[in-house]
């Protein structure tokens, strides 16, 4: 263990959330729960990034009163990355949900294993 675990508690929470989301995506057979897991996982990464950009005692990176001093603002890069990441995760969630809707309409089930069993029975 390194020295910074307690100082980096935000990142630690992010890592735990990431693993929870990861496990959900891997383990749940219910598709909706899988999607929830995916969203937890992505949000955890954004939390991690937000923690990375934070600097104690500084404000959001929007120039106020013409002050352009590094001392005044937090790091703007992680914020930008989070913005990009959120859009990606929205798109992926929409895609997964549309796939789920189609599978549900066809097989009347949200359980991926059950759908696979029905597919094998169909034999196509």
């Amino acid at each position: 263990m390194g020295p910074n675990l307690w100082i980096n508690y935000g990142e630690a929470v992010a890592a735990i959330l990431f693993c929870i989301g990861f496990t959900n995506l891997l383990l749940q057979t219910n598709l909706i729960k899988k999607i929830i897991g995916l969203n937890i996982m992505d949000s955890a990464i954004y939390l991690f990034l937000a923690e990375k950009g934070y600097i104690a005692g500084r404000t959001a990176p929007i120039v106020t009163d013409g002050v352009t001093n590094v001392e005044a603002y937090i790091n703007p890069i992680p914020s930008g990355l989070v913005l990009t990441g959120i859009v990606v995760s929205v798109s992926v969630s929409a895609l997964m949900l549309s796939l789920t809707i189609r599978l549900y309409i066809r097989y009347h089930s949200l359980d991926l294993d059950e759908i696979a069993a029905q597919l094998k029975k169909e034999g196509r």
Binding site: A56, A60, I62, I101
Partner: protein, 326 residues
């Protein structure tokens, strides 16, 4: 000829057949081995039904998830290994994090000359008061260009999955036949409270969204967040008044053209700025005075384009999920 058995009984024994074959009287293959003409196949519906039932029963048994023991065991094993893997991953990440630079410290690798230049010269070089907007739409614009196309390609895939199309003869496509045609029959619900509140709220929400988009370079906000707000307003309007009302001003055609023009503008504008940047040409786009609404070069028009795309995309997602077309 044997004397001990009567002739009839003797004719049935193996010895008789053997000796007669030896004497050449009889060819045992003749009439025994050749193919006989096959019986005409008579479909027996009862038998067929039984076979089908048996087949189904076998399949049911094989794919009965709850009672197939081998499968159940595999499932358990899979669960156990994935939980172990995730615990391992968690431990690994926690150890990693304990070695990372401390949160909130001012001196660490992340706070280097890159962030410093964005903050110190961002206002001057991009003209945007919002440093993050300046960063994602000017310094690192290629990422953002890719990002808006992620949204675009996601809409395309949702269209593929959920759009209910008719073929040239006007029949619904057989591939999507098991989908519910639409739920238009259930609406509008004409809920007076909802409609009243919506008629108050929708204009406010949409104006707020427009404000966020137009102020993207001056304060918190920008195309993505503003677009999402406008999209939410449109969805509220749809829920209150039904598809009949929204289709008067927003159909798939509108969506297609808005998306096309916004993305084309985005692509062309950014191509121009990339091209001039890489070839060290002077860009003719004025930066304006920082802080004014018409300033910061391309950032404002780009925000508007992105906002339009996002608003339409949010609405399109909802319409697709709701009834497979709009």
């Amino acid at each position: 000829m044997s004397k001990r058995k009567p002739a009839e009984e003797y004719h049935k024994t193996f010895a008789f057949h053997f000796f007669s074959w030896l004497r050449g009287e009889k060819d045992p293959y003749l009439g025994n081995v050749e193919m006989k003409p096959q019986k005409e196949y008579e479909p027996d519906p009862e038998l067929h039904l039984r076979h089908e039932k048996e087949h189904d029963a076998i399949l049911d048994k094989v794919y009965d998830m709850k009672h197939n023991r081998a499968l159940g065991l595999f499932h358990r094993l899979y669960q156990a290994t994935s939980i172990l893997f995730c615990l391992f991953l968690m431990a690994l990440l926690l150890v990693t994090i304990s070695h990372l630079p401390a949160t909130g410290a001012a001196v660490k690798p992340v706070n280097n000359e890159v962030a410093a230049r964005y903050i110190e010269s961002g206002l001057e070089e991009t003209g945007a008061v919002n440093i993050v907007a300046g960063m994602i739409l000017d310094y690192r614009a290629f990422d953002t260009l890719g990002e808006s196309h992620v949204l675009f390609v996601a809409t395309i895939t949702v269209l593929i999955m959920l759009r209910l199309d008719k073929n040239k003869k006007g029949e619904p496509n057989p591939l999507t036949k098991d989908m519910n045609p639409n739920d238009r029959i259930y609406e509008p619900k004409n809920d007076a409270i909802l409609q009243m509140v919506a008629s108050f709220l929708v204009p406010i929400i949409i104006i707020f969204g427009i404000y966020i988009i137009l102020n993207g370079h001056l304060g918190p906000g920008g195309g993505f967040s503003g677009g999402a707000v406008i999209g939410a307003g449109l969805i509220l309007y749809l829920n209150a008044f039904g598809f009949g009302k929204t289709e008067r001003f927003f159909t798939e055609k509108t969506y297609k053209w808005i998306c096309f023009f916004s993305l084309s503008f985005y692509c062309l504008a950014k191509s121009y700025s990339f091209y001039t940047g890489a070839n060290h040409l002077h860009s003719i786009i004025p930066k304006g005075t920082p802080g004014a609404i018409l300033s910061s070069g391309l950032i404002l028009p780009l925000n508007i384009a992105v906002g339009l795309v996002v608003a339409c995309t949010m609405y399109a997602f909802y319409a697709m999920f709701r009834k497979g077309g709009f």
